[in-house]
């Protein structure tokens, strides 16, 4: 563990993507600063909700934490080790402790693999257990996520979005990780299914002491599962704090505008919110775009 007891400690993380131009010879003409100096910590067993709009850099941050994308600079300390300095083999070993659940349960499961193969793949890759032991583990995992273990020989297309997301979660759990990065895990699902998956993630966290970095654009969903909230805008964290505080008294102007824009299922409250959002709309990207268009 790190000095202050955090499981994950991200400091000054940046990720820049080059902008290339030219037909024959690529020239780098500039950089998109997708992640631009992000720092946060997550304690063991805690959920940090990372919210922001599309293009804010929240998913890129998640990928950089897992070293699925190589950060341009900055430090990612996980379980006391500096991930950005690890060699291939060390990193591979660390991957057992950190897994990811993706947004789109239709795209993130190989359609040619059976459910059993999908869930056992991480076990095979890391050489865990015998064939027979793995089969037992897979059954157990599927049961834990509320997926009928009788269906291990079926294929993903036979299942609904919610069921597929359960398969994805079972796969993420297979190696008994400490940290799971959840990248928009419920945004492709219907409301009633979304509630089931959120409850499942909460139960798993309680039962296995999991730590989540929960990335999502839906502020209501994030609130339902997060202890602390980090709000991201244009590659930077504009506000980090305990969920109740961020939601009830947002300090940053952008956080306020984002919160005001969320429609709530209450016609009376909606009237007030419309007023509020007109007051704060000027900080938003579209307002900037309009201004830029008007200047051309």
């Amino acid at each position: 563990m790190s000095t202050n007891g955090a499981l994950l400690e991200v400091t000054d993380l940046t990720k820049h993507f080059p902008i290339k131009q030219g037909l024959l010879f690529d020239r780098t003409v500039g950089h998109v600063k997708a992640v631009d100096g992000v720092s946060f910590q997550i304690a063991e067993g805690e959920t940090l909700g990372l919210v922001g709009e599309s293009g804010s850099g929240k998913s890129t941050t998640g990928y950089c934490v897992l070293q699925l994308l190589k950060p341009t600079s900055g430090s990612v300390r996980f379980m006391g080790r500096e991930l950005t300095e690890l060699g291939r083999e060390d990193l591979r070993r660390m991957r057992r402790e950190m897994q990811i659940v993706f947004q789109d349960p239709y795209a993130s499961l190989d359609p040619r693999m059976t459910v059993g193969d999908i869930v056992s793949e991480p076990l095979v890759v890391h050489g865990v257990g015998s064939r027979r032991a793995r089969r037992e583990t897979v059954r157990g995992l599927l049961e834990v996520v509320g997926f009928n273990p009788e269906y291990t020989n079926r294929y993903p297309h036979e299942f609904s979005g919610g069921q597929r997301q359960r398969i994805g979660i079972a796969r993420a759990l297979a190696l008994n990780p400490k940290l799971i990065v959840c990248d928009e895990p419920v945004s492709a699902l219907d409301v009633s299914i979304q509630a089931q998956i959120l409850n499942l993630l909460k139960d798993l966290q309680r039962d296995f002491g999991l730590t989540y970095l929960f990335i999502a654009h839906d502020l209501a969903v994030v609130r339902a599962i997060s202890d602390r909230i980090a709000v991201m805008n244009q590659g930077r964290l504009v506000e980090v704090g305990p969920a109740a505080e961020v939601y009830s008294s947002p300090q940053d102007e952008y956080t306020r505008a984002l919160l005001a824009a969320v429609p709530v299922p209450d016609p009376r409250k909606m009237k007030e919110r419309k007023e509020e959002r007109r007051r704060v709309a000027h900080v938003l990207a579209e307002a900037a775009e309009e201004a830029a268009l008007a200047d051309e």
């Binding site: 709009e53 599309s54 609904s160 219907d190 409301v191 009633s192 979304q194 509630a195 089931q196 959120l198 409850n199 909460k202 654009h217 502020l219 209501a220 969903v221 609130r223 339902a224 599962i225 997060s226 202890d227 969920a243 109740a244 939601y247 009830s248 505008a257 984002l258 919160l259 005001a260 824009a261 969320v262 429609p263 709530v264 299922p265 209450d266 016609p267 009376r268 409250k269 909606m270 919110r273 419309k274 959002r277 007109r278 709309a281 938003l284 990207a285 579209e286 775009e289 309009e290 201004a291 268009l293 008007a294 051309e296």
Partner: protein, 337 residues
């Protein structure tokens, strides 16, 4: 006379797997200048309802097997394709979820807008261009005259949806059907699109059907709400009444399953879920379609034998259930709590 009256609409898809009863009992009226929100989860038939009204369902495999769509008293299901084309765009316009795919990437914005004007209103090239600039200004696209010669890729998602809206209102339709108009957009952009729709609806005295899966969007934008489940309209009421006193067990459950952005202690508690899944619409339950998932339906209940009909529980509040909340006096209402 209501502007639009949908009576006992049934749209079925005749497929190899059997007859999919995608829309199987939808009734509503819409007055001039009002907004009806149609809300429900994927596959409930809300989009097929809209496409049926517009005469845009793919035939085959789909067919309106029963019911009427009366627009200003005229049954649109009886019209031939030529007559329908005249109604579409001119009197009823529609915008879709994805502004990225509904615009032609190879044509300038101006060309796409003037096409509609020339086709439906027989405008000259110059007049159409002038009107197109006005339309872009109306949807608050700055520097409209210059933007007309841009291709769609120069616009962001929100701006493209505004172009789509400009095209939809070009002929001053009496009814605008918006199918998930803000779903693909960020919440902040969504808010502005909803504001724009509201503004235009007032300015043009349009009626609007807003199709969405988002109860928040309904609460914000609709005057009346229709909740759909498994192809049927299961509840219809004024927006305030629906949120204050939901009657159908499904509506209650749906509201209960929503996490709220302004709810304290939601982190520690569990969200209410609805057990099971919606039925397969090739072979839906004989009686109440929500029956198998309903916490109030008991085994020898009439609603497991006979299909409940849509009935007016109190003025303007319609429900299709044998166990609406207000008739469950004494029964602890667990769902939605």
């Amino acid at each position: 006379m209501a502007l639009l009256e949908v009576k006992n609409l049934h749209t079925h898809f005749f497929t190899r797997e059997g007859v999919v009863r995608a829309v199987d009992g939808v009734d509503f009226e819409l007055e001039r200048g009002r907004t009806l929100g149609i809300v429900g989860e994927s596959g409930c038939g809300k989009s097929v309802t809209a496409l049926s009204i517009m005469g845009l369902i793919p035939k085959p495999p789909a067919k309106i097997v029963e019911g009427q769509v009366l627009f200003e008293g005229r049954d649109l299901t009886e019209l031939d394709e030529g007559e329908l084309e005249d109604v579409r765009g001119r009197h009823i316009a529609m915008i879709f979820q994805d502004p990225m795919t509904s615009l032609n990437p190879t044509l300038k914005i101006g060309t796409q807008l003037t096409e509609t004007l020339r086709r439906h209103l027989g405008m000259s090239k110059d007049a159409a261009r002038k009107r197109a600039i006005e339309l872009l200004e109306e949807v608050h696209i700055p520097n409209a005259a210059a933007r007309l010669d841009d291709y769609p890729h120069r616009y962001s998602g929100g701006m493209r949806q505004r172009v789509m809206i400009a095209g939809a209102i070009a002929c001053n339709p009496k009814l605008l059907i918006a199918d998930e108009p803000s779903t693909a957009l960020d919440v902040t952009v969504q808010a502005r699109i909803l504001d724009l729709l509201e503004e235009l609806r007032k300015a043009h005295d349009m009626a609007m059907i807003l199709i969405t899966h988002d109860m928040g969007v309904v609460a914000e934008a609709a005057d009346e709400v229709a909740v759909m489940y498994a192809g049927q309209l299961v509840e219809r009421a004024g927006v305030q009444d629906l949120f204050d006193r939901p009657e159908h067990p499904y509506t209650e459950a749906l509201l209960g399953a929503l996490p709220h952005v302004d709810e304290e202690h939601v982190r520690e508690s569990r969200l209410t879920t609805i057990p099971g899944r919606p039925p397969n619409l090739v072979d839906p339950p004989e009686a109440c379609r929500f029956g198998p998932r309903c916490p109030y339906a008991s085994l020898n209940d009439s609603c497991t034998q006979v299909e409940p009909q849509l009935r007016e529980l109190r003025k303007g509040h319609w429900v299709r259930s044998a166990h609406p909340a207000s008739e469950r006096a004494g029964v602890p209402a667990e769902v939605g709590a």
